[in-house]
Subunit: 490 residues, 2 copies
């Protein structure tokens, strides 16, 4: 069926392609199919979604006139009210605008990616469709805000005959262009002073940690924060090395336990303890560095995850910035600041370790060279900084919504770690166990993590929800939080 809408009704010919049903490609057909009467998603919402995606994908450019409600409803065989509902929603969200006596016009361009925080994430929808309504996983980001356009442009530049050198193997430690950008970033943002040569790029913190474990050999003894991020625990299971847990209190890692325990490598998150957000106190930092300098084989692995996002108070310096003796191995990643799926992380090796690392010859780089150059250019041209600034605002706003909704419930919960990062810790004081909270949440289609997911020893800690708020679309956040609070009510 060819849609015979009058040309005057559509300013740009590109819009016509959306109605004649002939020139649509596979992707667009799929979108069209989603106008599905048997779906539980209301038709107006499907239509809203469809138009929004077309706008975001640049197929309905800025100032394109949309079909009149009447012709659109005739074409789609739905009521004018349904079209109106979709249009009103788009107007409310700033995608389109109504001009009196003229009609509806696209107001957003692809650049909206930068300015509209509350686009519903498709990933979120995918999850929902499997019976999950809201996912509070701490690892999530707001994917709808990614600067696709800028990234795509750089990808186009790098995937080019003129860059055919990028097809061949590059530097096994990572491309110098990217390492230079990271060194500059670390100096300005985290006070880390290093030569680009000290940086090793790898496909994930896991892989880089694995290389370190191999480098330090089977006699090395590790200490890990407990509770804490489980990455080192997960990897070290495969190795014969001894591992001890180190407790955490309101001043951060209990360095006394490091000093008293027999260990030589300590894995820690000093600037933003995972998951409580505690900052390792100045005295303990000095104490930890002093411990490390007592032996050539003692090192501190500083995982500075999430450090890009600080919302209040002064910036917490990295432990590495205090290290004058080459005792701190700094770890960073682009999982939170860009996307978890890109698999680009890095570590900064002290000079003495760098020599040993080079001699170990761990083989080729584990990250695509083209991707490294896209990222390097993204950082070099200021896109990365702009993206971080934008995301800081987005996440701060989400955090404020969450905190506002939690405020009336102080008698049953306490909030920790709200100064930075993409999650907070909620200590629950209503007598429920973590397991029962999780069970009840699951019934409502809410995915949660609790402290026991990040601890090998949980004794002495109250029931705690580790609440990742970044991945939930702003429009859904209130509902998601209210449902969560329902789970906590007797």
């Amino acid at each position: 069926m060819v849609f015979s809408i009058e040309k005057t009704d559509l300013i740009k010919s590109v819009s016509l392609e959306h109605f004649d049903g002939v020139r649509w490609d596979g992707e667009m057909n799929r979108l069209a199919c989603e106008l599905d009467r048997s779906s539980p998603i209301p038709i107006y919402e499907q239509l809203y979604d469809f138009i929004k995606k077309e706008i975001m994908a640049g197929r309905l450019p800025y100032q394109t006139k949309l079909p009149s409600k009447r012709s659109f409803s005739d074409y789609l065989r739905i009521s004018q009210n349904t079209v109106d509902a979709a249009y009103q929603q788009l107007v409310a969200e700033g995608y389109i605008e109504v001009l009196p006596r003229k009609g509806y016009y696209v107001m957003a361009s692809e650049d909206l990616e930068y300015s509209q925080p509350d686009l519903r994430s498709i990933a979120q929808r995918n999850v929902e469709s499997k019976g999950v309504m809201h996912s509070f996983l701490p690892g999530h980001i707001d994917a709808s805000m990614f600067p696709f356009k800028a990234w795509r442009r750089l990808a186009k530049e790098m995937i080019d005959t003129s860059r055919q050198d990028l097809l061949l193997l590059g530097d096994p430690h990572g491309e110098m262009e990217l390492r230079r950008e990271i060194a500059t970033y670390l100096y300005h943002a985290r006070g880390v002073t290093c030569r680009p040569e000290q940086i090793v790029i790898g496909a994930g913190v896991d892989l880089l940690l694995q290389q370190l474990i191999l480098l330090f050999g089977s006699r090395a003894k590790y200490g890990v924060e407990n509770p804490g991020y489980q990455v080192l625990n997960r990897i070290i299971r495969h190795f014969p090395n001894e591992v001890k847990t180190i407790g955490v209190d309101e001043d951060g890692l209990k360095v006394d336990e490091v000093v008293q325990g027999s260990m030589n490598i300590v894995y820690t998150t000093p600037s933003h303890h995972f998951p409580f957000g505690t900052v390792l106190s100045y005295n303990r930092r000095v104490q930890l560095l002093s411990w490390a300098k007592e032996s050539a084989e003692r090192f501190i692995i500083e995982d500075d995850y999430d450090s890009e996002f600080r919302y209040s108070g002064k910036s917490i310096p990295s432990l590495s910035s205090m290290d004058r003796l080459g005792k701190v191995i700094y770890f960073g990643s682009f999982s939170k600041s860009l996307m978890p799926s890109i698999r680009i992380s890095y570590m900064v090796l002290p000079e003495e370790l760098l020599t040993r690392y080079q001699q170990a010859e761990f083989g080729h780089s584990s990250v695509s060279r083209i991707d490294q150059h896209i990222l390097g250019r993204f950082m070099n041209n200021g896109d990365f900084e702009r993206h971080l600034n934008r995301m800081r605002k987005v996440y701060r706003r989400k955090l404020e919504i969450v905190l506002d909704l939690l405020k009336p419930h102080k008698e049953i919960l306490s909030v920790f770690g709200e100064q930075s990062g993409l999650h907070i810790a909620l200590i629950i004081k209503n007598g429920m166990s973590e397991a029962s909270i999780k069970d009840r949440a699951k019934e409502k289609g809410i995915i949660l993590r609790t402290l026991s997911d990040y601890s090998t020893v949980t004794e002495g800690y109250p029931p705690t929800i580790v609440l990742g708020f970044a991945g939930i679309p702003e429009v859904d956040l209130k509902e998601a939080m209210n449902q969560l609070l329902d789970c906590l009510k007797g």
Copy 2:
């Protein structure tokens, strides 16, 4: 300086941008800078290079008129003869065409990537500029033939708001879309029967082997071909495991040594031994599989590198295709068939091992999810097969050139492994040692690998050059080979 060439001299305005010196971006400025009078590269060749790159990058589209020789030479302050030399070279190579009384026109489009095998690779130039004239490294590919356009188009599709789900973490074993394509490819091309679920995607064979070593534990004993590809040797150094070398003869791996030695994991290249190209005989395959089935802890790692490129004789079936008992772990990679720098490899785990691998929980995938989807789509739409067919022709032609040039020198060398792959083995019989051949080659700016680079034990083997011919541009191949032959002359 603004170039005041008459508009009539340039059909398309895009060309003007190349001369006014104002609207060029960083990349193009860099290219412009290469018109460098102090460079050892002749000016005409720099100009030729510049125009060719502009054409290949699509910035000088099909049928664009080039400036007249006179106006161009005025602008660049070089002689008309120099411009003429560059133009003639471009005409000879089919990039541009001269129309009588009209001028020079661009004849090539970006699609030239598919049809022009002998574009000089920029990577090659980069290497040359560091004093290396020709690199016969076995790991190289012909990067000039990569289908940038198709790849770029798919990248554009995947880096899109509509695919924002790809930013979040995916399947730790790799994206199902890609694993399905690989399973289909393996079935048709290599006779490997597996479910997509058995395939694990990883950032390089090194990483996947490392996971296997961890999975098998420290008591596993390994056997590796000697001479052979050194990847397992390189990794296992970091582990406490015992490793034995297994000899190779004209029937391939000496399976007797496997049976007699005490080992339980064998790493082998049965279809195309590295570097001799020997095929493991049928009897030995049966013998090896029988050995493996005698114990639950015995496995064979089949590295089927290079299997995409076979030029003569019937296809050699994979060892995995003969395996009915889940004893063969098949390894493949896209390093040769696409590009070494993409870091996408895979292994096919027998069902029983798959369960153990899943339980080991090696963490997130090491490959960018977007890249996995680009590749999956590239395979799904037939681009991959087309690319392989094209490259097979390109490499066969290069191989023929090499073999033709070697033919008159039978008294000083014998050729092995010319049926398949991107390298051949040259046994040298003129009394020179590998070290002296390498030294002499180095003086001439030629990079070579010899058998000792791929052996822990070299006794009993004659001096052998492992000659990778894929990375040298076809136009340079004759000169490169003649220089190499010069090194072998007394």
